[in-house]
């Protein structure tokens, strides 16, 4: 095999709950610190301890951050899955394993075995049993650093930062790195044909997961009331909000300028969001598909009574309990039309942690401007895996846009007001908040039909007028939501791909692969629903559009056809829904196969 620099996939096979996660994270970070783009992914079971778990790191000089099939190097330290793990290595690849005990399996002839007696080394060098176990993980990271040519200085820096204030931990950790390096030095040729070489490709990027970014975005966006019910893969989002708020949102008396309540279920969480938003606080909840199903009744109330709110749906594999620790984009239709009656909702589709942060902060403005529920549609892949991302930034002069809320003075001045009137013609009425004015602006918020002045009515005419105004508001929303990113729009190219959310990485890489094969496609990344003019125009300019998504039923395509009245024949779906993040190879091969089939038909 020829030398491949900064271009390989390494997988770690561990046992859940053995402390491998932090060692594996450190490995990914060490490559990042070498200036080389990395994309790590956790593949974990819905279990706390004892089951197999994998961690996969793609290293890509070209900055391809999607998942790639094919394992070049396997670190197999889980006896339970060992045989399968070995079998999954690409021919020509490498296996790093704990050689303390001899291997009994028949050896594969097409891969290189690299045995390091991790257990024995730790037993010989550490006394405390717990450390003997923990440092095994660091020993393999040390061995890898020698094999892949990662600078030891990088680990010195990482430990120095990680153990600031607990300096006595630095030496034994570095010793474990050295044990691994030394063993390789003494027993094997190094570096391997796959290796890392220092670059300056990551610049000011950060390596962070989307849930952290959303949690932080909620802090910056001014959220003060958060309600939630634990569910994978959204839990760490509320943890992040809590973590940053507890540091950055404490008043002079040590009290909190925010409230987080773990509710009894998702219905209650959404109830809190509506109550708090109705009362003028910025409020959100985070959940996954099963939570959205439960919240549906309240989501309809938000739509009809026009109460703002923000919900993050960190999507996982459905239906039902589905694959709770795998990724999908399969709540699109659920979210878009959640609740009974004629309802539709605003969806945002972030692709990177930076977008998670920005859109999360913006979603509170959007919710208050449009007085409705905003869905942040992320997924397990974006939410729980670290992604390389532009750094977060914030304009300190930015004010929150609270939308059309009448204050005391305005209530004094305004001649007449009705909660559901449309004086501006944009479908967005004026709200008032409880406690504002002693005699003006009070009204009864309700999910039943009412007239423009919020008075209960069962008359058809005001009901229909209200439903039509909501439709006008929907049209206004199209001009307020984020515009799509037109990734490639060459004149004369009649075919295009469109995608959203975490499909972006695989889609972008597939464009390059297809181009190499002489297939030239335009591309658009959609960032929001409802679809604005830019989406409509892009579709109009192309004859064939491949819609790439991570669900079985082509939900996004359905939304395009349904909302834009497009001819379904124009769309070709590229659908991955096996629970793993979609790959560029899958996208390009599906498109290629499709093109061959079409040619064959002529």
């Amino acid at each position: 095999m020829s030398v491949r620099i900064n271009d390989f996939v390494i997988r770690f096979a561990n046992v859940n709950g053995t402390g491998s996660a932090s060692a594996n994270n450190m490995f990914a970070k060490s490559i990042f610190r070498m200036g080389v783009p990395v994309s790590p992914k956790n593949i974990f079971p819905s279990n706390i301890q004892g089951l197999p778990t994998w961690y996969e790191v793609r290293v890509s000089e070209k900055g391809y951050m999607g998942r790639r099939e094919g394992i070049d190097l396997m670190v197999a330290v889980n006896p339970q899955s060992f045989t399968k793990d070995v079998a999954s290595i690409k021919p020509g690849g490498y296996l790093l394993y704990d050689s303390t005990k001899p291997l009994y399996d028949d050896r594969r002839q097409d891969i290189t075995y690299i045995g390091v007696p991790m257990t024995a080394l730790c037993l010989a060098n550490y006394e405390v049993p717990r450390l003997q176990q923990l440092f095994k993980n660091i020993v393999y990271v040390g061995a890898l650093s020698k094999l892949l040519d990662i600078e030891v200085k990088v680990f010195e820096d990482i430990f120095a930062e990680q153990f600031a204030g607990k300096e006595k931990l630095i030496a034994p950790n570095l010793q474990a790195i050295e044990l691994g390096r030394k063993y390789i030095e003494d027993h094997y040729d190094f570096p391997l044909n796959i290796r890392v070489s220092r670059r300056d490709l990551v610049r000011d990027s950060i390596l962070v997961d989307g849930n952290t970014a959303c949690g932080l975005g909620a802090v910056y966006g001014g959220a003060t009331v958060a309600a939630w019910y634990p569910i994978t893969p959204s839990t760490s989002l509320m943890d992040a909000f809590d973590k940053y708020a507890s540091k950055l949102r404490i008043d002079a008396e040590g009290k909190k300028n925010y409230a987080i309540v773990q509710m009894e279920d998702e219905l209650a969480s959404m109830g809190v969001v509506l109550g708090a938003s109705w009362n003028g606080a910025r409020s959100f909840t985070a959940t996954s598909g099963p939570g959205i199903s439960l919240m549906s009744e309240f989501i309809g109330l938000s739509y009809f009574a026009e109460v703002p709110g923000v919900v993050v749906d960190v999507q996982r594999g459905g239906p039902s309990t589905g694959m709770p620790t795998r990724t999908q984009q399969s709540d699109i239709l659920l979210a878009a039309y959640a609740s009974h009656g004629d309802t539709k909702h605003i969806l945002l589709f972030p692709s990177t942690p930076k977008e998670c942060f920005d859109m999360m902060a913006d979603s509170f403005d959007l919710a208050e401007r449009l007085q409705t529920m905003i869905f942040m549609m992320t997924d397990l892949d974006l939410g729980m895996n670290d992604h390389m991302s532009p750094p977060f930034d914030w304009n300190d002069s930015r004010e929150y846009d609270r939308g059309k809320v009448l204050n005391v003075r305005q209530l004094e001045e305004v001649k007449s007001w009705g909660r559901y009137r449309d004086p501006d013609g944009d479908g967005i009425p004026y709200r008032t908040l409880p406690g504002t004015h002693p005699t003006k602006g009070a009204y009864f918020t309700r999910g039943t039909s009412r007239d423009e002045d919020a008075k209960y009515t069962e008359e058809s005419a005001p009901y229909v007028r209200n439903m039509q105004r909501l439709q006008v508001k929907w049209e206004t929303a199209k001009t307020m939501v984020p515009k799509p990113e037109i990734v490639r729009n060459e004149a004369g190219v009649s075919e295009a791909i469109i995608y959203f959310g975490t499909t972006a990485w695989a889609a972008q890489e597939s464009l390059d692969i297809l181009e190499d094969q002489g297939i030239n496609l335009n591309a658009m990344r959609v960032k929001a629903f409802p679809f604005g003019n830019e989406v409509v125009e892009f579709l109009a300019n192309h004859d064939t559009v491949y819609v790439i998504e991570q669900n079985r039923d082509a939900q996004f395509k359905t939304l395009l056809v349904n909302e834009l009245g497009e001819d379904p024949a124009k769309f070709i779906s590229v659908l991955n829904y096996d629970g793993f993040p979609i790959t560029a190879d899958f996208v390009s091969q599906t498109i290629q196969a499709r093109k061959l089939a079409t040619v064959g038909n002529i």
């Binding site: 109830g271 914030w394 300190d396």
Partner: protein
């Protein structure tokens, strides 16, 4: 009840201490059935808020779904209200209270709304000691869906349909007490003398205050054989004592009078005066409350009055240690940590 209200103000109409008339606490005309117990409760709420001299806009009213949950339209017309969804008022009230700790919250629900579909939220609001006056307009049936038995209907009780209810009733005050509610009372829509001071006391309580108010449904459950009818309630009512509420400004210490009276000082300076207390009953002693409630039940009595109070309780904001300033008044200057903090956070991800 639908009738034409006189538009003029009676010359004798009194202002309360902050200059509002009783009328300022009224709402739209009721559309409930004539004689419905719920209307009497609405009127007691109006009277209590008027007498307490709370600015109407400093109260927020919330409800679920049902005839009972429609009532917020019929009182406190100058207060914001939120008619939520069936059984979920407690969570909406939780959010509202978290957003603004400076308002008073009156949550109104029905026995269907609270004891069935909303039981989960009811229970958890108590657990969090949510600062709300939680009124259950209890008629033992689902009024709005035409009279089905509710979970508070007594076993053997008969609604207008005539079949005895085969299931045991859930007693909301007992349940609330068991869950750690810090204010538990029951009253009767037909007993204003008791209900009004109870509502006033509840409004001054710094935590969850349950008022289970028997409120007969004249249309579906006021017949012979029903244990939630006017007649049955009047015949079986047994008060823990009489209650009076004295709102005063200065600090008062508890002063145990001789015999069967008791004064309970609340944190805002007001006092609850209890007299003619049932023998040996002390509403600040939980064990005594539990005994009293069980005793009444075994005797087939409908126990009303203040059943339990912990005046020194801590409400939800205090439990969460949130700021004394209402969260909904904070702007970007307070909430937003700024670019410098963000730059530091970025560096942790490199």
């Amino acid at each position: 009840m639908t009738y034409i209200k006189p538009a003029f103000r009676h010359p004798d109409a009194q202002k309360n201490s902050i200059g509002f008339y009783r009328k300022d606490y009224e709402g739209a005309l009721s559309t409930l059935c004539a004689g419905c117990g719920h209307d009497s409760i609405s009127s007691a709420i109006i009277q209590a808020c008027f007498e307490l001299a709370i600015e109407p806009h400093k109260i927020a009213k919330l409800s679920g779904i049902g005839c009972s949950s429609k009532t917020p339209a019929y009182y406190l017309g100058q207060s914001h209200g939120f008619n939520t969804v069936h059984g979920r008022m407690p969570s909406v009230a939780t959010g509202a209270y978290l957003a603004n700790r400076d308002l008073k919250y009156i949550g109104v629900s029905g026995d269907g709304d609270s004891a069935s579909i909303g039981m989960g939220q009811f229970v958890h609001a108590i657990r969090r000691n949510l600062n709300v006056v939680y009124i259950i307009m209890n008629n033992g049936c689902y009024g709005l869906t035409k009279g089905q038995d509710s979970a508070t209907a007594d076993a053997g009780s008969m609604s207008r349909k005539g079949a005895p209810n085969p299931f045991e009733a859930i007693d909301m005050p007992s349940l609330a007490l068991e869950l750690g509610a810090t204010f538990v009372g029951r009253s009767f829509s037909g007993d204003k003398a008791q209900l009004i001071p109870m509502i006033k006391a509840a409004l001054s309580h710094p935590g969850f205050a349950l008022l289970d108010v028997i409120s007969p449904c004249v249309t579906f459950n006021n017949n012979k054989g029903s244990t939630k009818s006017y007649d049955y309630t009047r015949e079986h009512i047994e008060a823990t004592g009489t209650i009076d509420f004295v709102p005063i400004e200065q600090e008062i210490t508890v002063d145990y009078k001789e015999g069967s009276s008791k004064e309970i000082a609340l944190h805002d300076g007001s006092i609850i005066e209890l007299s003619k207390l049932a023998n040996g009953f002390d509403p600040t002693d939980k064990l005594s409350s539990i005994l009293k409630m069980h005793e009444a039940r075994t005797k087939g009595q409908i126990l009303t009055g203040l059943m339990y109070i912990d005046p020194d309780t801590k409400g939800l904001h205090d439990l969460l240690q949130t700021s004394d300033t209402p969260l909904n008044t904070m702007g970007a200057d307070v909430l937003n940590p700024g670019q410098a903090a963000l730059a530091k956070i970025n560096s942790e991800f490199r």
